[in-house]
Subunit: 331 residues, 4 copies
């Protein structure tokens, strides 16, 4: 099957490669010409621009946009819509905000163009492992694109079947799911990322408590010097907290148990923020997902105005002088 792909970064490039390996034909474009040439060398057809790319596809066309959320995706979707025809499909495989999907789908529908949003998990490991996909949009179009999704998905692999799913749609067990109408794919992916924040933070807090168990502030007979790398490794093996994220912890800790290569200033992406906002709109108490987000916010600050205000109040009511402290350094 033919697929146009716009945006050949880490994700877009590997999606083209995985599809080409599976026998599909990809027509690709990126404003970075070198990325186009690299993919062309790997079996895709390079295009000279969006119009050229659309021209090289047979109708009804499908073009996968794999760009940062916001302006880059918005502009590309609009530019594609201007040169595409009724019956064509635009797939947004990035991390767009689902309300943008709803708006775009409605607007494109007027032109007869179908908009499909695909939340794509798998990161740099996806080329080999495949991509877990959550797909929103009209059923007929999603069904037509099934060969693409099937090729990108990880497939059943060694993962044991869940009992009780015998009579259900077996595509889900390949690793892709039609979640519902436009926007629902990105909505489900957004919550997926919110959960990811929460899980990561659970490990982060747990390992920090382990790490600081050798603190000299504790009674001497209650201190332990624990081996972070070994603990991460042993938990991978039969424990309740085993997960793919723990596998990644184990890799990082085996390489450098002090994690001294990392500053600890942690970025956050739109999905973490949007997940909390969605929770608030639904009146869901999302303590853990919020706390995970807030930790990242705080990690990028030196001292906050709020903390200074705490010190100022303490000084006022108790004459407490918070020393102009040298911050505690973390191993």
């Amino acid at each position: 099957m033919q697929l146009g792909i716009v945006g050949l970064g880490r994700m877009g490039g590997n999606i083209a490669r995985r599809l080409t390996r599976a026998g599909h034909s990809c027509v690709v474009w990126d404003r970075n010409e070198a990325a186009v040439s690299d993919l062309a060398a790997d079996g895709s057809t390079g295009a000279a621009g969006l119009e050229d790319l659309v021209g090289k596809l047979d109708a009804p066309r499908a073009v996968w946009v794999m760009l940062p959320a916001g302006a880059p995706t918005e502009q590309t979707v609009n530019a594609l819509a201007a040169v595409m025809e009724p019956g064509d499909v635009i797939i947004d495989g990035g991390n767009s905000f689902y309300k943008d999907d709803i708006r775009r789908a409605a607007s494109l529908r007027e032109k007869g163009i179908v908009y499909v949003d695909v939340g794509t998990s798998g990161g740099v490991w996806g080329l080999e492992r495949g991509y877990c996909m959550m797909i929103g949009g009209e059923k007929a179009s999603v069904d037509r694109l099934d060969p693409i999704f099937a090729a990108l998905a990880p497939g059943r692999g060694e993962i044991p079947a869940t009992p009780g799913r015998e009579s259900r749609d077996h595509r889900v067990e390949q690793g892709y799911l039609h979640t519902g109408p436009a926007g629902s794919g990105h909505f489900v992916k957004m919550i997926h990322n919110g959960i990811e924040y929460g899980m990561m933070q659970a490990y982060a807090e747990g390992f920090e408590i382990l790490k600081r168990k050798d603190s000299t502030e504790l009674p001497e007979n209650e201190r332990y010097s624990l081996d972070m790398a070994d603990i991460a490794e042993v938990w991978r093996r039969g424990s309740v907290v085993s997960s793919w994220l723990l596998d990644l912890c184990a890799i990082a800790l085996a390489k450098n148990e002090t994690l001294s290569d990392f500053s600890g200033a942690v970025a956050d992406s739109g999905e973490g923020r949007w997940t909390v906002m969605a929770a608030i709109e639904e009146a869901v108490s999302a303590e853990v997902l919020s706390a995970a987000l807030y930790t990242r916010f705080r990690s990028r600050q030196d001292h906050t105005f709020g903390e200074k205000l705490l010190s100022a109040m303490r000084f006022q009511f108790g004459g407490h002088v918070e020393q102009p402290v040298t911050p505690v350094k973390e191993g």
Copy 2:
């Protein structure tokens, strides 16, 4: 190798079975005689009491206590110590508080008896999958018991090796770890359970946001009716949030997507509480692990006094009358 086992509940009984299958000899006792007979039928040697059990073992003996933390474990350890000899080992495989381990180990050391604490993860699945074990105590005794731990551990299985561990202790990859001195096994297991609380809560919040996305309080074009069972399943396949706990979610949701079999009043065990207390002692900000614990506390309440006080203040300052509401019912 010979091992005494006291406490033949779900965990203790399966430990005896797994050891017997691996060719070890177990001498077992429980105050429930039927449990003893069952195990005897499965290849263990039944004992008539603690003293009989100790008498049936050759010195230096090792007895594994698998009882609820607190008084049951404490009393049994003391009773065993009274009939055991210098050089013998008492293993506490339950979920004792690590400060109790430190105290017991010091006290038994005076009698020449060695105390080993084993944090054991694996639950009802351990008989088949093996148990992930975190072991605290003196190295010489832990090494002597290695055949027992090796038989109980899951072994390397299909789980891929972590790069960079080639020169490290390979027993860790079998699923057991000597974590350090007495108490450290249970300390690491305690933090493991704390992380487990946090991960579970991350899934719980995420799925709740998904579930309530069909709320009539949302704008009509932003509502989705999402399939909880399919979402859990698809995330098992190549996504960043895949984990063993997610596998369990998928099983439960495939069986009954509304989870109507469950009341939602969630128990908590000592480890969740102790983890937060340990964080506080070390001055670690453990937002996620605390929030996971607090959610369980709140889940067991109808309305709290604190919430009534909020209503009372609102009534005072704004004349807000909170209706004697019929609580919102959850699907």
Copy 3:
């Protein structure tokens, strides 16, 4: 000075009364005719509709809209703008979302009409105590309206002066502040309400810990039966936590120490939600303000889907059966 007032609920009616008492002339309208008659009996001039109200004011006019945020305010502002003239001022004294203010101010500016947003704190006590006001909009118009704000404000009263403010704008000490351009008044009021949520929750949690100190789950010699009403009262007198909210707690607890008149299902308003969203937009870690909001969300639920999922996971991995519990009843 003349002022039109639209919306004669608890707040709008008392604002008209306080202004009339101070010698200002109010022209008032509400779709509830009885409210108009009541105010007319109290010295205001009743109007028969928006157009009549505007007609009864001399240019340049000022009309204070005191309606629920969202559609009611939006429609009234638009309807007023249609019958007002360049140079006139529309004051939104309600709890509008500040981004709506920014939009409205820009749109009205094109017609030469000035939009002023006033965050108004004081609740049912405002008629006697006066209203604390945070005012956004163009300086010239805010200055022109000064007699209105001065009359509504509480004035200096018995509250001691803050040292170091001698050279600053003394109107602030009367209880009103020009915070900046359009929207900033409601933004500051919104954060005010966010802080209020946090403070209320701090008291709620503290009193709940006091209340449950007689729990039979605690060791018998560590239980206390504490008197909630006396504790709230004593803290009003020289303690660090004294506040107006604590005064309200003391009143409520003196009346009924068990608070049995209140269900404990606590409503939340837009400001609490918007505050958290503003924090997220600014990447501020707002744990306390979020937790205060989430507690209210949770207070309105029976059991959540998330909590059922926790139970379901626990059942899967440990065979834990959460009893179909009768929820713990709170005194």
Copy 4:
């Protein structure tokens, strides 16, 4: 009435001064001789040591210990008990952990000595404003000491009476309360401090959101440069969030609006930690009180191990390289 006072720091010294001014006789000691001389110059009788101090008091004696919680208080209580007689009273006015009070009271009771614990709020302002006191211990002794408490308490002052308290104990309105048996005074004071943490954090978060509303990361038309000092001041005047802590914020911000004198590394004391632990023992969900404590923990760290682990996971799964960031500096 006579009172011995041991520990003449900021609190103990001012307590002696306030009592002397009210006509009571204080016999004072501190290991710092200059503190003793200072108080002697202010009307107290200096003692040369504990035994001398006890000798200078008539039986039945009362000695107020005002020392840091933990070892200093413990040792002094024991040393006093060794030289005091049946019927004497030891008052611990510091911030002891209430379980220590329970233990000490039981142990002193065997010797016939009465132990009274007084939670004392008021800080550096107490000499002028008086001290709010929460008093635990046997009623007879607390009643006997009433003149002391009455003199230390702030008295009714200008604070309006709470309606509905007419038939209740009027001493509460003077600012002191007999809370119950030994330990209960410190327990109530501990919760008081926990609430204080939560309130302070509510202000800190609110002001931080206000402060960062000028962030260049926000859309240009949604930015405000707000005046922190004026906002704090206006809220003191008729708003729902007025409080003594807000008065302190207003003083600090009027002096230096950027708070640049404060590092923002905020200390925490035992009470904040004990409050959270008490909540956990009672299974109370204390999100806000915990978050307030955790913010202080985090404020004293540079980057945490947990945050580095987040970065390490992100690098593993997404190839995200967190730059060795220069931390964002706060105004």
